[in-house]
C-alpha cells in the first residue's frame, strides 16, 4: 500500500465558464492521518474532493487515491468502494426513511459494519422510520456520517461535516470521528471552516487558496515553524528588509513591527536586534492565525 492515501500533483480544473477552481494543487495525505483541508469559500476544497471521487474531471495534473488514478472510471469505482463520503450539503435521498437509506447503502458494501451501525444509531439517536427529508440538519449530518463510517472504509472524505451543527451535535460528531479513527486507523480527509475543531483532531493540515496549496504538512511541524516576531523600536518602526527566507507578511503599527514567518524565526529576531530594536519577542501562532496570515499573504502576493 502507498505511504499516502491521497496524492495530487499539479492538479488543475477549469470549469466551462472559465473559472479556475484548481491551479496546480499538490497534496500528500499520509495513510492513517486525520488531514485537515482548509481554505476560504471558493478556494477549491470541494472541487478537489469531487475530483478525488470521480465526480468532476480535472483539466490537468494527476490525482491518486490508494495509488489508483482517480480519473480512470474503473479505478474510481474501486476508490469509492474503499471510501466513505459526506458531502457539504449532506446530500441524501429525501424520499427514503433512515432505515431504508441505511439498507440501501449497506447493500453496496460487502465490508459494511453492522456493529458500527448499531453503535452509531444508538449514539446519534436516529429515528429509523423517519423520512430523511424530515430530519433536522444535525440529524441529517449524523445520518450522513453513519452511512460513511459503517462502510468499513479505509478513507473518509468529509466535506464540511460540522457546518451548521449546534455545539452538542458538533461534539457528538467529533467524538465519533476520533473514536472511529482510533479504533480503525482510517485515514480522514476533513475539509472544514471550523479551525478550532481541526486544531483539536487533525495531525496533518493543508491550507489552500485559489486552487493552490499554500501551507501543508504535519500540524505540529507547522505550529513549530510558524512564528510571530514582534519587534519594538524607540521611534516609528522602520520598513526593514529581512534577508532570512520564510517571511509570510510584515505589519508596521507605530513603534511595533510584526513579522509572520513560516521558518527562520531566530534568524529574523537576530536581524531585528541588529537593526537596533529595543525588544524582540518570538511568539507561537494558533492554527487560525497561521491560516489567516497565509491566506492574506497569498492574496497579497497574487494581487
Amino acid at each position: 500500500m502507498s505511504e499516502f492515501a491521497i496524492e495530487t500533483s499539479d492538479l488543475r480544473k477549469t470549469y466551462s465558464d472559465g473559472a479556475d477552481a484548481l491551479r496546480g494543487l499538490t497534496l500528500q495525505v499520509p495513510a492513517g492521518s486525520i488531514f485537515g483541508f482548509l481554505g476560504k469559500n471558493g478556494a477549491g476544497k470541494t472541487t478537489t474532493i469531487k475530483v478525488l471521487l470521480g465526480m468532476t474531471h480535472p483539466t490537468g495534473g494527476d490525482a491518486r487515491v490508494f495509488g489508483l488514478r482517480a480519473t480512470d472510471p474503473a479505478a474510481s469505482v474501486a476508490i469509492r468502494r474503499r471510501t466513505g463520503f459526506v458531502s457539504e450539503e449532506k446530500d441524501l435521498y429525501d424520499s427514503m426513511t433512515v432505515q431504508e437509506i441505511i439498507r440501501f447503502t449497506a447493500a453496496f458494501y460487502p465490508t459494511w459494519r453492522a456493529d458500527f451501525e448499531t453503535r452509531y444509531r444508538r449514539t446519534f439517536d436516529l429515528p429509523a422510520d423517519r423520512k430523511v427529508k424530515k430530519l433536522s440538519h444535525g440529524m441529517r449530518t449524523k445520518l450522513a456520517l453513519l452511512l460513511a463510517l459503517c462502510r468499513g472504509a479505509d478513507l473518509l472524505v468529509l466535506d464540511e461535516p460540522l457546518s451548521g451543527l449546534d455545539p452538542a451535535s458538533n461534539e457528538d460528531v467529533l467524538q465519533a470521528l476520533v473514536r472511529h479513527v482510533a479504533d480503525e486507523g482510517t485515514t480522514v480527509f476533513l475539509s472544514s471552516h471550523q479551525l478550532a475543531d481541526i486544531d483539536q483532531i487533525a495531525d496533518h493540515v493543508a491550507v489552500i487558496d485559489r486552487g493552490r496549496t499554500i501551507v501543508s504538512g504535519a500540524l505540529d511541524d507547522i505550529r513549530d515553524r510558524h512564528r510571530r516576531i514582534q519587534i519594538v523600536f524607540d521611534g516609528d518602526a522602520p520598513a526593514l528588509s529581512f534577508r532570512t527566507p520564510g517571511i509570510i507578511r510584515t505589519r508596521r503599527e507605530g513603534r511595533v513591527l510584526t513579522v509572520f514567518a513560516s521558518g527562520g524565526a531566530d534568524a529574523i529576531a537576530a536581524e531585528a536586534r541588529s537593526a537596533n530594536a529595543v525588544a524582540v519577542d518570538v511568539l507561537p501562532l494558533t492554527l487560525k492565525e497561521i491560516f489567516l496570515e497565509s491566506v492574506n499573504a497569498s492574496v497579497h502576493a497574487e494581487n
Binding site: 469531487k50 469505482v77 424520499s95
Partner: protein, 252 residues
C-alpha cells in the same frame, strides 16, 4: 441496488400511468357498447370531406363500422398514441443521476456512471414496454362481454409499434435530462417536440414517428412498418448513446 434505485425513481410515474391506461382501455369497451347503436345511423349522414376535419370524421365513421376498426381508431391511433407519448416522456425525464437531489450521494457509491445510466434507461424502457402492452390486453379480455372478439396478436403487434416508436420520445427526454438539472425542462421540451412533430405529420401528411405508432399499415394489411420501426429504434439508440456520452463527461 442500482436497479432498485431506478425503480424507486420511476415507480410512481409507472404505476399511475398503468392505472390510467387500464381505465382508458376498459373505457374503449364501454364506448363501443354505447357507440354501436349510433354508428349505423351515422354511416348514412353526408360529411363535407373538403376540409381536414371533415375528411378525418368521414374516415372515423367508416372505420368504426367494424369492431376492429373502432378499436384501432379510438385506442391505437388516438388514446394510447397520445398517452403513450406522454408517459414515454414522463418516464424518460429525471435522468439517472440528478445534479440536485441526492446526486452526490449516488455518485459516492461504488458503481460507475454507466451502471447508473444503463439501469435507469433499462428500467424506464421496461416500464414503458409494460405500459404499451399490458393495459391493452384488457381489450381482448373484455371484448366477449359486449359480444365481440379482438385478437391478442393485434395487441402485441400494435403494442410493439407504440413501444418502439414512442421510445424516441423516451430517449429524447432521457437525453435532455442529462443536459438540464431539473425535471421540468426535459419534460416540457420533449412534449413540445412531440406536439410539433405530430402537428407537422397531420398538416403535411408526413410519414413520421406517429404514423409508425399508429401502425395503419398493420391495421390495413397485417404487415408491420419495419422501416419505421427500424428507423425509430436507431434514433432511440443514438439519443441514448448521446445521453451516455453526456453523463460520462459531465462534472457534478
Amino acid at each position: 441496488m442500482v436497479w432498485y434505485k431506478s425503480w424507486l425513481d420511476t415507480r410512481w410515474r409507472f404505476l399511475i400511468g398503468f392505472a390510467i391506461l387500464l381505465v382508458l382501455a376498459a373505457g374503449v369497451i364501454v364506448n363501443y357498447s354505447v357507440s354501436a347503436t349510433l354508428l349505423p345511423g351515422l354511416a348514412n349522414q353526408p360529411v363535407d370531406t373538403s376540409t381536414t376535419a371533415g375528411r378525418l370524421l368521414a374516415e372515423m365513421i367508416q372505420l368504426e363500422q367494424t369492431y376492429r376498426g373502432f378499436v384501432w381508431g379510438q385506442w391505437w391511433r388516438q388514446n394510447l398514441l397520445q398517452d403513450a407519448t406522454l408517459f414515454a416522456v414522463l418516464l424518460g425525464s429525471g435522468g439517472a443521476i440528478s445534479s440536485s437531489k441526492g446526486g452526490l450521494f449516488t455518485l459516492s457509491m461504488p458503481a460507475s456512471r454507466t451502471d447508473w445510466l444503463t439501469a435507469r434507461a433499462a428500467t424506464g424502457l421496461g416500464e414503458f414496454f409494460i405500459l404499451a402492452m399490458v393495459p391493452s390486453l384488457l381489450i381482448p379480455l373484455l371484448s366477449p362481454l359486449i359480444g365481440q372478439h379482438y385478437s391478442v396478436v393485434d395487441v402485441f403487434a400494435h403494442g410493439l409499434c407504440i413501444f418502439v416508436a414512442a421510445a424516441v420520445f423516451y430517449s429524447l427526454a432521457f437525453l435532455l435530462s442529462t443536459m438540464f438539472s431539473d425535471i421540468w425542462r426535459p419534460l416540457l421540451i420533449a412534449i413540445a417536440v412531440a406536439c410539433v412533430i405530430g402537428y407537422l405529420e397531420v398538416i403535411f401528411q408526413l410519414n413520421g414517428v406517429f404514423k409508425v405508432m399508429a401502425a395503419r399499415r398493420y391495421f390495413e394489411s397485417g404487415s408491420l412498418p419495419w422501416l419505421g420501426l427500424t428507423s425509430s429504434a436507431a434514433v432511440s439508440v443514438a439519443l441514448l448513446y448521446g445521453a451516455s456520452v453526456n453523463v460520462a463527461r459531465k462534472d457534478f
